[in-house]
Structure formats: structure tokens, C-alpha cells
Amino acid sequence: MTSTLPAATTAKVPAQRRPAPRTGAHRRVEPPRRLRSSRSDLILCGVLLVAILVVQGWNIGDYPALSDDEGTYLAQAWSVQQGDGLAHYTYWYDHPPLGWIQIALLTWIPALISPESMTVGTMRAAMLVISGISAVLVYVLGRRLALPRWAAALGMVFFGLSPLSVVLQREIFLDNLAVMWTLLAFTLAASPSRHLWHHFGAGIAAATAVLTKETMLVVLPALFLTMWRHSHQDTRKFAITGAVTACTLIGFSYPLFALLKGELLPGAGHVSLWDGVKYQMTRPGSGFILDQGSGSWGVLQSWLYYDRILPLGGLAGALLLLVTWRWSVTARALAGPALAVAVFAALALRPNGYLPAMYVIQALPFLALVLAGGTASVAHAVLSRWRSEAEKRYVSTGRYALAGVLALAAGAYVVPHWYDGARTAVTTDANAPYHAASRWLATEVEDPERTRVLVDDALWLDLVHQGYRPGLGVIWFYKADLDPAVTKTMPRGWKDLDYVVASPTVRRDAADLPNVKAAMEHSDPVATFGTGEDRIEIRQIQTSAGGAR
């Protein structure tokens, strides 16, 4: 081991960077050293970033339809900004709070300038920042995993422009933030300089991702694999132990937080982390994903409705990489993302697991990378495998012709679908009923200050800005049944309310919520916006005499 020169003091001798001893453990494809100073990488990545931001940003407030969860997180972020704690209702450890604390930071300055802008439709713009960063990270990660420039760019396009991505990444979901942190963790884990503190940082980023959305826990093995493959034998034990320690210590801050608040374990009269975790772990399953008619099947269909190429193509790509593991350098370089896809697929295939609609968000970057990697693998096989100097001319021409045909066919299939998706995204107005309902409640109700309304979370902040009392005046509808602090203020049940805003979510969930159900049954629509399933009704509670209260 005596093949190198010692470190020296004065600056005259440039940093004595001896090459590290080569190890045979993994044949490592040399990733590009300096992406930041590579003009072609910068231009390519920049152009794609602009395209992604335009497609994702145009019409972001009006499409897709506002989701209840977005309202929840943004309202809680608002509560953080107001200094009212982690939520305006009791924080009950449903998710770690780091996600909406980040949203609060992200929307802090706009909310200072214009407090009324703190509504779901407007603040979706903040998600553009997250999408943009994530998309760039996909490109950088692709390059660090030794993808050629065009393939990394392809991955970025898959990730940012798939209609499924466009729909989901526009929404204020914690998953989108968690994806950004996870990508950062992978990018640091694959750092070409194999720096101890980069790996340490990867551990911190991974912990942040998990504290943003706890389900990110399942990609940690894939991150570990990536880090293992990208660390050097001589420094690996320090790098990996450092990363694991960082991740664990940061992760423990959540239980520590609960402990400091005296809410770690269940007890009378307070919520607890234990109960929160128990709730999440025992959520009723939504059936087997391939079982037609189950809830999970429906969720799968809702993804495939927007895009089949990224989810199915990504799965195929992962499969291809796993099968060609032995021969393909690309397959080995992409081991981490491929494992992540495999883990996500395996979890989705649990016989009776709970499959939320945003589950796929976490898999998107890995699907994109694996699909790009698979494409690169195929391209390599077609263009270069078994190729020799003395190859006949017509064989070479044949290779290029085949590659051209494949590219054209793929393009012909993908481009029209995605064009349609993008056009829908930038032109449809899915939220007109919401805006109309909001306007109606602002103008037609006489005394918002003393009116009590059940709404779904998406509309809640709008009403707060219009003068309704947050929490007990304008009420998240399910809190009327589930939060003792709210039901206490409604001793006469539905009779203590004035309005119910019956959005699709409210109508769907009312079946299981007695107070909400009663309020729906004892109310009449006074205004209806939209038609059919998606309509929003403003229903006024009847007095006992039969008329409006």
C-alpha cells in the first residue's frame, strides 16, 4: 500500500490527490466529474427544465381538481405561519409535520405579501419550485449513474412531462416534497468524489424525506445499495456508517419531539405518536391491485388513465435491467433505482394493503430513470453489441435503421398521448365549481363571522380569508365527528350548523360520519355549481320548523 505521496503543507504543492487504489469489487463506470461546467449538460438540462416548468405551470391552479389532501396540508402550513402550532385542530401524529413546515417556509414570503393568496389554487405555484428541483436532480442522478447525456435527458422528460407526473406534481402533496429529498439523497449517495460528508448528507436528506412522508422509509434499502456501489472499499465503512447514523439520528428527532411534548405513548386526554402510527398501520386495506373491482384496482386504473407509458414502461424497464444484470453495465449502474421500483411494485402487490392514490408519486423518478436506463440498454444492444471493427457495412446500416425504426415507433406511440395530456393540463378548468362556491359564500352569506359551515379541506382557507372563523366557524367536515374538541361545541349536533358545502369528497365520506350525514339529510341545496358527480352544492341546514334557520 505504499504507492503514493504524502500530504504536504504549503499551497505551492497542489493538493496531492493521488488516485485511489482501484478495487475489483465493482466495475465502476466513470461518471462525469464536473456537470456544472459542462456546457452541453447545462444547456440540455436548462432547456428541458423550461419545457417542464411551462407544461406544469400553465393553468396550474385550475387543473387538476382541488384535492382534499392539498387543502389539509396547506391549511396546516398556514397554521404554522400564523404561529398557531402544527395544525389549527389538534395535531394527532397522522404524518410527521416536516412536510407542511416546508410548505409553510416555501409559501412564507408570498403569504406575507398577499395573505389572501394562501389558497390551494394559488399556492400550487410553489410546487413548481419542487418539481423543477426534482427534475434537475433526476438528470444529475441519471448522469451520476453513468447514463449517457441523451438517456439522462430522456429520464428527465419522462419524470417531468408524463401526463401522470404533470397531474400529480402540480398538487400540493407531501409526496412531491419527499421525492425531492429522496432524489437529493440518491444524488449525494452517487457523488463522483465519494466524499464522506456527501454520504453523510445523503443520510440527512433521506431522513428528511422520511420525516416529510413516512412511506419513503421503503426506499432506504435502494439508497443503501446505491451508496454501497458508489463508495470506495477503503472508505466505505466510514461513509456508510456515517450515513446510517445521520439518517437514524435525524429520524429519531420525531419520537424525541413527541417525547418532549409528553405525547410519545398513549394516555388519557391526549393524542400520541403511538396512536398515530397504529392508525396508519391498521388502515383498512383496499384489496388486491389486480383484482377487478377492488379499491386498489380503481386506483391503478386512475393512474393508467393519465399515462400507461411511464408506469408500465418503467416496470418493464426494471424487469429488463434485472434480467440483464450479468451482462449490462447500465443495469448494474441503475441497481438502486431498479431496486426501488421493485420494492414499490412488491408493496403495491400486497394482497390487501392500503393503496393511496398518491402512492405512485414516490415511484415516478425511479420509473423514469429505469425506463431511460432500459432504453439506453436497448440502444446499446442494437448499436454496439457484438460490433467489431471489421463489421460489414450493411450490418452497420442495418443497426442504425433498426434503431431509427424503434425510435420512430416509440415516438409515434408516446408523443400523441402525451400531447393530449399536456393540452388537457394547460387548457381545462376543473375548479370552476369550487371558485363559484367560494364566491357565493363570500357574497351571499350575511354574517360570516357567526356562521358555521362544514366544508372539505380544499375550500377551507378560501373561507378563512373571507372572514369565517378558522376551526370552529368554518369546519373541516370530518372533524364534526372525529375531533372531540369540535363535537364538544356542537351539543345539538347538526342543528348547531348553518351550511354544508357538499363537494364530491364530502358526499363520499358522509356515509361513515353520522354528524355530517345528519347535516346532509337535514339540509337543502341553496346553490349548485357544476353538474353530475363533480357538482358542488351549498346546502343550508333546516330549522326544526322546516324552513331555513
Binding site: T4, L5, P6, A7, A8, T9, Q16, R17, A20, L260
Partner: protein
């Protein structure tokens, strides 16, 4: 409110201190390239410099001959050994004289100072040095036969004025504190010292250190009144821009053993701390050209005292967070230093594993357990030594505790090398 602000400020300060220390401690493992650069480069077979190897020996007749014989086995062909003995130490002198009679490469210099210490002894020998480079070893050092050739090559290829080789305590299994002591050396010579060399401010070690003879003479030799003359020499040389190179190879280090008792470890540590304090007060480091270097110097020389301080504050901080009614945000901040301490702990465990690997030593589970459990107690020991050093320096007591102590011990019973109470292990 005031309490909260105070606690937060103290916690953040501690956090940054601990974080920087950790950052520097892990220097060598930052990247595989850095790790590769901490090793000696292999010599090309040619010889370019001649060595004068100083071997101060005091009441060390039991081990001296063995050390000389081993040095004479060096593969390098151009060197002399100068054994420095005291005029009041006939036993050691006899051993040295007989070695000199057997081999012309060995010479004996007698130190006649009334009050003796290591820097005075070496200054006595300095005018007698004929080699291009002066090297320093201790009388009980086990020196690798290839070391001189590697050092020669390092002088040639780097144009260095000073080359510091690795020193490593080996007997980690002896006691709980020797385990931690070994690991301290491991992190210091394996990693931290390289950072110092790179930054241009370095407290040298007491042996396996090689200095160009003219540079050493120009600097006036060692400071006879400093308790950490090795550290002082490094600080003086690097402060005037001399180039120092550090190289560490596990098979080329000089092997040593930890002090034989907890008390002697405490005394040794007190002496170093007091020495560091003296070097700090001599202000040679103020000549360093950049602010960053001066800050590093200030921080490094003050480290023992900050260390003592952190050891006391961290538990207090955690207690405050858990039992006092402070806001959750503040409580979180108070945990930051503890988190850094935990990370350091984990890296120490990995370091112990690596140490075992490098030296082919079997580290058992019990050792890891000892490492973790011994941590707080070792911290108390360090804090004790730091307090003691400040107190002694304040009282103006800057005699070498070891001289009288070791002498008395050895005079009473001709103890073997392993039992000898040694305190003159270099920093």
C-alpha cells in the same frame, strides 16, 4: 426567555465546536483519494540524504540496547545514531558506550545540565549532528527497518523541511483507558495531523519526526523551557512557512505503549495540556499568514480546555431539555451537541474496527463495549487533566513531572520495560 436564549447560544457554540472537531478528525477518510495521499510513497532505491538519529535515554538501560540494535538494522545505509545520556546516569551510559564500541555508527553524547529534560538533552546533541536530517526517537521505540528509506524518499519527492512519521500506541487490550488512548493516537496520526499539514499549521509529535539539520539549527533547536517542545517546534517551523509532510503507514509506524497507570496518563496529559497552553502564550502562531490558519492554531492549542468544558456541559444541556420547561424548539437545539457527540462515538467504533484491521489485531465485542462505556469516564479524565494543567500553569509550576517520577520508580526496582511508568510519550 433569557434562559432559553442562553441555552440556545451555548448549545449552538458547542455544536459548532464538536462539529468542527469531528470534521477534522475524519479528514483522512473524506475521499479515497485523500486516504491514499496520507501514505508514504514507495522509495525508488536511491539514497539522497544522511540521517542523524537522536536517541535521548534516561534510566532506560533495560530497553535501550534493543532499540539501538533494531535501528541499526535499517535498510538505509547512511545514518548515525547519537545516544544522549545524563552525566548522573551511569547504567544507561554503560549500555550506550558498549553499543558505540560495537558499531561505529553509534555515538554517545553526555548531557551535563543540572535539571534535565528532553529538549535540553537534544539541544546538547544538535551541534554534534553530521547528517543532513535530524531524526528523533525515544529509547523504547520499535522502529521499522524500512522507515528511513521511505522518509528519505519523502524528503526528495516533496521538498519538505520536516517529515513526520506515524506513532501508534498498540496495547489497546491492556485497560479501558489504553483502548481509548490507542484510538486517540489512531485518529490523530492517521487523520487529523494530515489536515494540519495541509493547512500549514502543525503541532509535531515527539518522535519519528525528521527535520533538515540546517532548518533545525536556524530555528535554534528545541525550546528547553517548554513542556511540549515537540508541539512548539512544529508551530514555530510551520509559522515561518516551513513545509511539513506527514505520512502514515500502518506497517511503518513507530509502535509504543500507553502509560502504565491511570495516574501517569493523567500526569502525561497534564504536561501536554500545559505545554499547549505555553505554546499558545508564546504567540509564535500569530505569524501565520492567513486568518484561517491563525484560527485553526488558536482552536487546536485551546482544544484540551474546550474539551473539558464540553464534557461538563453536554449532560447538563440534555438534562435541561428534558426536565426544564423550555419551548420545544429550544429543547431541540440543546440536543444538537449530544447528536454530534453520538456521531463521534459511532465513528470511533468504526475507527476501532479499522484500527484492528490495519494492525491485524483481534478486536472483540467487549472492546467495543469498553469503548462506549469508557467514553464518559475518559472525558472526566481529560477534563481533570485540563483543569490540573491550568492550575499548575497559573502557579508557575512548569517542571517536568516525569523526570523525577520515572527515575524514582526505576531506581527502586529494575523493572522491565512493560512495567515502567512512562510519561514521555509525544503528542
Amino acid at each position: 426567555m433569557l434562559t432559553s436564549v442562553f441555552i440556545a447560544a451555548v448549545s449552538l457554540a458547542l455544536f459548532w465546536m464538536a462539529a468542527f472537531t469531528l470534521w477534522w478528525q475524519m479528514h483522512a477518510w473524506r475521499t479515497p483519494e485523500v486516504l491514499a495521499s496520507t501514505r508514504f510513497s514507495s522509495p525508488d532505491g536511491d539514497e539522497h540524504v544522511s540521517f542523524s538519529l537522536l536517541l535521548p535515554a534516561r534510566h532506560e538501560q533495560a530497553v535501550l540496547d534493543h532499540t539501538i540494535q533494531r535501528l541499526l538494522e535499517s535498510s538505509h545505509t547512511d545514518f548515525e545514531i547519537i545516544v544522549i545520556v545524563g552525566h548522573d546516569d551511569p547504567e544507561t551510559t554503560a549500555v550506550a558506550e558498549s553499543a558505540a564500541a560495537r558499531d561505529p555508527r553509534v555515538r554517545v553524547v553526555v548531557d551535563t545540565h543540572e535539571r534535565k529534560n528532553k529538549p535540553k538533552a537534544m539541544n546538547t546533541a544538535l551541534p554534534h549532528c553530521r547528517g543532513d536530517v535530524v531524526g528523533v526517537f525515544d529509547a523504547e521505540d520499535q522502529v521499522h527497518p524500512e522507515l528511513l528509506a521511505h522518509v528519505d524518499h519523502a524528503f526528495l519527492t516533496t521538498g519538505a523541511d520536516v517529515v513526520q512519521g506515524g506513532v501508534q500506541l498498540i496495547n489497546f487490550h491492556s485497560s479501558w483507558y489504553s483502548l481509548r488512548n490507542c484510538l486517540e493516537y489512531f485518529f490523530w496520526f492517521r487523520s487529523r495531523l494530515h489536515l494540519h499539514a495541509q493547512k500549514g499549521f502543525i503541532p509535531l509529535g515527539g518522535n519519528t519526526v525528521f527535520v533538515r539539520t540546517d532548518v533545525l539549527r536556524e530555528a535554534g533547536g528545541w525550546d528547553p523551557d517548554c513542556l511540549a517542545e515537540d508541539c512548539d517546534l512544529g508551530v514555530r517551523l510551520s509559522s515561518v512557512g516551513k513545509k511539513v509532510v506527514v505520512a502514515y503507514d500502518s506497517d511503518m509506524v513507530t509502535r509504543e505503549e500507553t502509560p502504565g497507570s491511570l495516574m501517569s496518563l493523567l500526569k502525561q496529559r497534564t504536561r501536554w495540556n500545559q505545554g499547549f497552553l505555553q505554546v499558545y502564550r508564546k504567540k509564535d502562531w500569530k505569524q501565520l499568514p492567513t486568518l484561517g490558519q491563525r484560527l485553526l492554531a488558536r482552536y487546536t492549542l485551546m482544544t484540551p480546555f474546550m474539551q473539558a468544558f464540553t464534557g461538563l456541559i453536554i449532560p447538563l444541556n440534555v438534562a435541561i431539555a428534558l426536565f426544564l420547561d423550555v419551548p420545544v424548539g429550544i429543547a431541540f437545539i440543546t440536543f444538537l451537541p449530544a447528536v454530534t457527540a453520538l456521531v463521534t462515538f459511532v465513528f470511533e467504533i468504526v475507527g476501532l474496527h479499522d484500527f484492528g484491521r490495519q494492525y491485524g489485531l483481534r478486536v472483540r465485542f467487549a472492546h467495543y463495549l469498553k469503548l462506549v462505556l469508557g467514553g464518559p469516564f475518559y472525558q472526566v479524565l481529560l477534563a481533570g487533566a485540563a483543569v490540573r494543567a491550568v492550575w499548575r500553569e497559573q502557579r508557575g509550576r512548569n517542571d517536568w513531572e516525569l523526570t523525577s517520577h520515572v527515575g524514582a520508580h526505576l531506581d527502586e526496582s529494575a523493572v522491565s520495560r512493560q512495567d515502567a511508568t512512562r510519561e514521555d510519550v509525544p503528542a
